[in-house]
């Protein structure tokens, strides 16, 4: 008998997708960061100006640098500061794909309680990612 034969199919699928999501996100993060600091991608906020603004509260930082919020950074992926955010968003979104992938397994087994739990988990993640929730100092 294989050692992990007691691991459910949905858990194994979740693990596989999470592994791919994590590794690819990390690779994107590293490549984009080196492109940023080595100057292959232009910086939106000049690197030597960063120490003057990273001490500020986020609202003040945004005001002084006129940086975009929400998903607006997607339109500025050509700039190093925001290219790095793509890898971060990828890492943060990795669980979405995993949840979507295990739902059909639960549904096929008529385990509707866990289908609902997955849907609620997805909705929470989507709500957080949507940018509709605002807060500030």
């Amino acid at each position: 008998m294989k050692e992990n034969s007691h691991i459910s199919v949905e858990q194994q699928r979740y693990a596989t997708l999470l592994s791919w999501g994590g590794r690819s996100g990390l690779a994107i993060l590293i490549v984009s960061f080196f492109a940023y600091v080595l100057g292959w991608l232009p910086a939106y906020v000049a690197l030597d100006q960063l120490p003057n603004v990273w001490t500020l509260p986020v609202d003040e930082y945004l005001k002084q640098t006129d940086s975009p919020t929400g998903w607006a950074w997607l339109g500025r992926l050509g700039e190093g500061d925001f290219a790095g955010l793509f890898g971060i968003a990828w890492l943060s979104g990795a669980t979405l794909v995993c949840l979507l992938a295990v739902m059909p397994i639960y549904a096929k087994r008529r385990d509707f309680v866990f289908v609902i739990i997955c849907i609620v988990a997805l909705l929470v993640q989507v709500l957080a990612a949507s940018g509709m929730l605002h807060s500030g100092h």
Binding site: L18, T55, F82, C118, Q125, A128, S135
Partner: protein, 319 residues
């Protein structure tokens, strides 16, 4: 074992790591007090990388997540505003959890059925925590962070652990959700059946844990494990594995709030993530060389120092 390790005592290695970590933290603090204008921009991400590398080394043997060390230490000794430190802290914890999650799931040490109901509540409350944390003044967050860190120090010093807690019978909710499983304990070379109890109280506590994780940008393994292990009765290894997996959901929802708010700077987050992950890899390899109990005591001391620093910084006494 490599020859280099055999010639160095365990205590020497632990002390060297601790001293190096303290030096970097104090150097960062000293440079900050001299003034940022005289320091080139690249010194900070480099110092951050090195500090996180050492934090990653001690995080593994001490059994605490990197996130819980990152926020008070970087928030206390680096010039970055706490908003950006918390955003990076969440990503450090998330990246570590993502790296560990797949193997924990495949090995049965993390359990999807146990994790998902708890993670749903904790991720919802982590969003609220993140929004509250970004809405209130930084000094209030610093004070609350200091108090929380000192609470963690007390919890770490006093909390007991139970390898295989006795659960007379699962409660109705955990039975209905089939929150049970089997894991293969390699140390005992046997398969262990487990189930949990006190699920409603566990769910309530995870609401609070999620809130704190979102508010302070820390991974919440320090709280997850005692609740899963001591309260709900999951075996220690399953508790630790499931806790790490829960963080992938909780930290990602809170991370979105920080990301959308603009409180994630790649220049702070990326060196921290890379440093912490590289350090954790070394830390895992040094598990047999370093004495875990000694490292744990040093981390508790470090956290005590960082907690006092956060509290005094928040109160305006030690800026």
């Amino acid at each position: 074992m490599p020859r280099i390790f055999s010639s160095i005592s365990k205590l020497d290695l632990t002390l060297a790591g601790f001293v190096a970590l303290a030096c970097f933290a104090l150097t960062a603090g000293a440079v900050e007090s001299v003034g940022q204008d005289v320091v080139a921009w690249w010194v900070w991400p480099l110092a951050l990388f090195v500090t996180c590398f050492f934090l990653g080394i001690v995080a593994v043997p001490s059994g605490v997540g990197g996130g819980v060390l990152f926020v008070p230490i970087v928030g206390g000794f680096f010039p970055f505003h706490l908003d950006f430190v918390r955003g990076a802290g969440l990503l450090v914890a998330l990246a570590s959890a993502l790296a560990a999650g797949p193997s924990l799931l495949r090995g049965g040490l993390a359990n999807l059925r146990l994790a998902l109901p708890l993670a749903v509540l904790a991720s919802a409350s982590s969003i609220v925590g993140a929004m509250v944390g970004l809405a209130i003044p930084a000094n209030i967050v610093q004070i609350a962070l200091g108090i929380t860190i000192l609470g963690i120090v007390i919890l770490m010093s006093m909390a007991k652990k139970s390898e295989l807690p006795e659960v007379p019978a699962p409660d109705r909710l955990s039975s209905a959700l089939s929150m049970n499983g089997i894991f293969h304990d390699a140390a005992r070379n046997q398969k262990i059946n487990w189930h949990v109890h006190r699920t409603p109280l566990g769910l309530m506590l995870f609401l609070g844990i999620g809130f704190l994780a979102g508010m302070f940008g820390m991974g919440a393994g320090w709280a997850n494990v005692p609740v899963l292990n001591l309260l709900m009765g999951a075996p220690l290894k399953v508790s630790a594995g499931t806790s790490s997996f829960i963080l992938t959901l909780v930290d990602s929802s809170a991370a979105w709030i920080y990301l959308n708010k603009g409180a994630v700077l790649a220049m702070i987050a990326v060196p921290s993530i890379i440093g912490m992950m590289m350090g954790a890899t070394i830390g895992a390899r040094l598990l047999h060389v370093l004495k875990a109990s000694v490292v744990r005591k040093m981390v508790i001391t470090l956290l005590l120092f960082a907690g006092v620093r956060a509290l005094l910084k928040g109160l305006g006494i030690w800026l």
